[in-house]
Every structure is written in C-alpha cells, then in structure tokens.
Subunit: 182 residues, 4 copies
DNA sequence: TTATAAGCGAGACGGTACGTCAGGTCTTCCG
DNA sequence: CGGAAGACCTGACGTACCGTCTCGCTTATAA
C-alpha cells in the first residue's frame, strides 16, 4: 500500500534505531520522527512496531539473496558447518541480531506476527535445511533440521552461553550421528 | 522487603491474570488492581512485570519440589522420555506455559531479568539434565543436554509445530545416537 | 495550541468544580475527568491547576467586558463607591471569589503565575483605578489606588471580617481624605 | 500533646527547610526526615504542614517578645513609621517572609488554620495597632488600622511592587490624613 | 487558468500505563 | 510501652505512546 520510497525510508529509520541500542524501546512515534513521516503513514501499512521490524528484517534478508540459498558442495558435514557458522554470524550481527530478538519477543504474544514469521522467514529456511539434509541421505530430514537449528536458538534466545569456537564442529558431528549418516 | 503475605497475594493475582488470556497485556496497574495492592507495593519489591512473572514462576516451581529432581531409574532412554514428556506438559500448561513465554519474551530486552532466569531457573535445570546424562555415561554431557532441550524450545518459542505424539520417542532416540550411547 | 473548543470545555469544567466547594482540592485529574478531556490536553496548554484557574478567571473577566471599564460619572466619591461595591460583589461571588482565592494562594509559590496575574489582571485594573483618581485631581494616584484597594483585599484574604454594609462609604470617605481632595 | 523537646526539634526542622528554598514544597515526609522524627509523631500534634508552619511562626514571634508590643513614643506619626518599617522588615526576612507567605496561602483553603491565624496572630496585632491609634486620638481606629496595614499586605501578597524607600513615610502621612488627625 | 480534490505532514485528541511522590493509617520491633 | 521505622493503600503527579482524528499545505488533474 505504501509507496516503495516510503517503505525504504521507514526501513532505514528502523535499522538506524535498532543499531543504536535498546530495540525494545522502539516505538511508532520514534520511527515516525526518525523517518520524517507521519504516524498515519505508518499505521496505513503496518499494524505494530513488530510488523515494521519484521518487514525491515525481511527486506534485509531479500536484499542479500532473493530466496534462501544454502551451500551444497556435496559434502554434508562441510555444508552444515558452513550453514551453522553463517547462522551464528547473523545472530551476532549488531543490527540483525537485536532485530530478530525483538521480533521473536513480540511473536510470543502476537499470533498474526508469528504466522507471518513462520510463513515468510522460518518456514522457507527450515525447508531449505531439511532439503539439503534429505539430499544428503538423511531420513527424518525435518526433525533432524530441528535438531540442528534448535540448540543454536536455545543458546541465543535463552542467552545461556556465547557461541564459543569449536562448538560448531562438535555440534555438526553430533547432528550427523543423530541423523545416522556417519 | 515485602511481607510474605503480600508476595503470595501478588503471585496469586499474576497467576490468575496469566490464566485468563493475553499474557503480553499484563501491566503493573492490572496486577495491583487484581491483587488489591498499591502500585508502590509492587515497585518496592519488583522492577517490572517480567520480574513479577518470573518470581511467581519460581515460587510455583519451588512449591512443587524444593529443588530440581529428575527421574533416575537407571534406564537413560526411559528417563529422557519421561523428562521430555514432562517438559512438553509444562510448556502446554495453560498457566505455566504463557507465563514462561512472557518471561522469555521480556528476557530478550532485559539483561537483569535474563541473568536471574539463567541463575535460578535455567541453570539448575540444565545442570540436572547434564548430570543425569553424565551418570548415564555420556561424554559431552552439557552439549548433549542442549541438543536434547534445544529442539523442544525451538518448536515452542518459534511456534513452528505442535508437539505431536510419537515425536518425543524419536527425539530421545536421536539424542541417544548423538550422544553415542546406543 | 489548544483549540478554542477545548479551552471552553476546560473553562466550563473548572468553573463548575470551583462552584461546588473546595477550590483547594482541584486537581489536574479532576479537571480532565470533569471536562471529558485527557490529561495531556491540559498539560499541553497549561502548566498547573493555577494556570487553568487563572485562564478561566481571565476568560470570564473578558467575557463581561473586553477590557477594564470603570464608572466615570464626574463625581469621584460616587464612582469610588460604585467601584468598591463592585469589587466586594465580585469577591463575594460564589464562583469568582473562590477562584480568585485559589489563584492568589498559588501565586505565593509560583512566580510565573504571579507574573501573569500582575501583567494581565492586577496591573490593568490598578491602572484603571489610578487613572480615574488622576482624572479626579488626585496627585499620588498610584499610591492612593493601593490605599483604596489594599484594605478590601486585606479583609478578604486574611479573612478577618465580612464586608459589612456601611463600611464601603466610610472607606471611600477615608480614601478621599487621604488623597487630599476633600 | 507533643513534648516540648519534640516541638522544638520539629520547629527547627521546618525553619531550616523554609530557609533553603521552596516553601511550597515542604511536606510531612520531608519534615519528619529532617527532624529525625516519625510521621506518626507529626500527625499526633499537627493536622497539616500549614499547621506546623504556623506553629513554628508563632513560636518564633513569641521568642522575640511574649506578646505584641508596639512603639509608643507619644508621637503617633513617628510610631506608625517605626511600625511600618518593622512590618516591612519582617515580610522581607528570608525565613519569616516565606513562612508567612505559605501560611497565608494555605489559609485560603483551610478554615481551621485561618481561624487559628486570626485568633493568635492577626487579631492581637491588629488590636495593638488600633489601640495605639485610639490612644493617638483616632476615632475609627479599627478601620484606620486596616487602612494602614492593608496596602502593605496588598503589595506583598499580590507581589505587585517591592517596598521602595520613601514609600513608608508617604503612606504614614496618607494614613494620618485619612484618620483626620492632621 | 483556475477550481478541486487527493495525499501527506503535523499534531491535537481521548486514552492507558508508566514510575514517582506524598498523604494518612497501621504494624512491627527495638530501647 | 512509647516511639522510630517503614509497609501499606490511596490518589495525584507529569510523561510517553497508543491509535484515531482533523487541519492545512502541497501537487496533480479536470473544468
């Protein structure tokens, strides 16, 4: 509904706000002020700050690559390691990380946002992973994908431990064993 | 600072609010009104709704059993299955589940709360799990505990899929394989 | 900043509150509730209850006559008597009186309000009185104006005695003697 | 009811608070804290901050001279000038002035306080003035006392003008003319 | 060329909640 | 056992945002 120009302005505003600290303190008024846009313009296109954050996140993901593309070298272990390293990097990114954190938080009490998140971001990514696993000969590919991604998010969302080096390789090895392909 | 009587009243209020819908909409004023307590009394003892929710959650956990007690029948697979089933039940509980969801959400932007959560709830529970694994002969017990718990939380926090029956057994089997004890 | 419609609503609310008892108990919240207006709307235009009361008082004064108009019959004694009678009537008015009392009280600890009061209400009125005196041939017109008005306010603010009949004429006579025009 | 020791402590606390700025911001809690006394102790003896301020004011007046004593040299004009100068000095005093200002403000909406003020402070003083006038041969002594004191309070309470030098003498002269004794 | 509208910024508005302060009352506990 | 310490309920404070709404000022088309 909003013109692309407006969307871009808003995205830029949101990213700049997200990059300068407390993502939880992002408000409609703040975004409007930063973007030099009226509140009406925001409400015309988005239902909540969560929706804007998610939209910005999505736009950012699509800027990098039109769709989800995973490494496929033929060597499953190698690809999984590359994949996990990429995830860790993304979650540790000073802009992307907090943004994703905020969206995940809002999802907990916003069903519509959760649905969008699953449909447009999480679903395709999980599917890409399980496809790669399936191509590698893994039987219960969906479940193993979850086994692979779950611990990463556990560590990140529950903020239990930083991602120490060395952990990724060990995790890949464990995943391979669980998948029964080693 | 707050008297035990007051704490109990507040916990009861919070649980009743949590049980009746939108946990994200819980406010200091709402809790005060429901508990028949003044806002000052809340602020004297807790810094945020998140802190109150967490305190209630903790009190509830400690009501059931003074400390973390896990099944220990000697049969690791059997115990893990029981453990996972218990977790799923807890996360699906109409009061406990939403409460935990809200706390997890607030943790994303409240470092102090996150620290408390780790120290008093998550830490001891993860330690209990890894202790049980270690007793069962698992080498990388901490990491395997994460591998075991991670996918459960992934499914629940990202709201990707319900906990279908049969999944638990398969998940335990995969965990055992990853741990190298089968 | 506030629209005239809003100002009017607020003035009406304040006058109704002032008319029904304890002027000292007038609060921002009370005014907002009575006027059916949000607190923000009040704070956007006025700094304190005192400022609102004063604004209402001023609007009320200007409703009656655009500016300060005093009797000018040519007979100074007669005009002063009319003037004093008018003042007494105003101070005894069940709405105007308490309002003025409250504003005077707040002035004692609010410099900005005191300044406004002097500039827009007291100043013009005192000037009108001294102008009339000067036209009547009084030399130290400003000081005599003070001599004329002072005892009225003394009696009213210190709440020493009611305005008994007969006092006004005697007071006018004394003022004329002091002014040296009799 | 309160022991003299306590009363003194509280008076000292009130005076020190009054001397350091915003008299309007004096609170029961503040006085209790400053005096090292519990709130209960205050409420046991005084009904409001106004009552405490007034009590302190009264104690201070009585410290100087047990009762109201006015100059009586035989020369009325001279005595009035001395009296007026004393009043101006008192109203300009950095502690006494603000205290009196605060009490006068609270009187506007506290009938009990107003009654006490009239009975114990204003009444005796006005009576002393009119007695002196009567001794000087003034007929309407009560009214002339009001004529004498009124303009001083007008200037001070309505904060219209500072007490410029020279004004006092002129004011005394006008009062004498009004009283018909010149 | 002039109206006539559509689109948008600005921000007033009624609300809800925030976090704080003080008012009074009541309880606890120490000297 | 009297008084300080302070927890407690209450009510108001002044502020931040919410989501809706009206107002005027462009800017672009239709008379």
């Amino acid at each position: 509904m909003a013109r692309q120009r407006t969307r871009d302005t808003v995205h830029r505003a949101v990213l700049s706000l997200a990059g300068e600290g407390r993502v939880g303190a992002i408000t409609m008024e703040g975004i409007a002020a930063r973007a030099g846009v009226s509140k009406q313009t925001l409400y015309r296109s988005w239902a909540s700050t969560g929706a804007i954050l998610f939209d910005a996140l999505l736009a950012r993901s699509l800027d990098d690559d039109g769709s989800v593309v995973l490494p496929d070298s033929g060597d499953l272990a190698h690809d999984l390691e590359e994949l996990a390293t990429g995830m860790v990097a993304e979650l540790s990114d000073p802009t992307h990380g907090p943004l994703l954190r905020a969206v995940t938080a809002e999802m907990q009490s916003d069903d519509a946002l959760a649905e969008e998140f699953r449909r447009l971001l999480l679903g395709p990514q999980m599917k890409a992973v399980s496809d790669r696993l399936r191509r590698g000969g893994v039987a219960e590919a969906d479940d193993v994908a979850e086994l692979f991604v779950g611990p990463v998010l556990h560590r990140w969302l529950l903020r239990s431990r930083p991602f120490d080096t060395g952990w990724v390789s060990a995790h890949v090895a464990r995943t391979m064993r669980a998948a029964g392909v080693v």
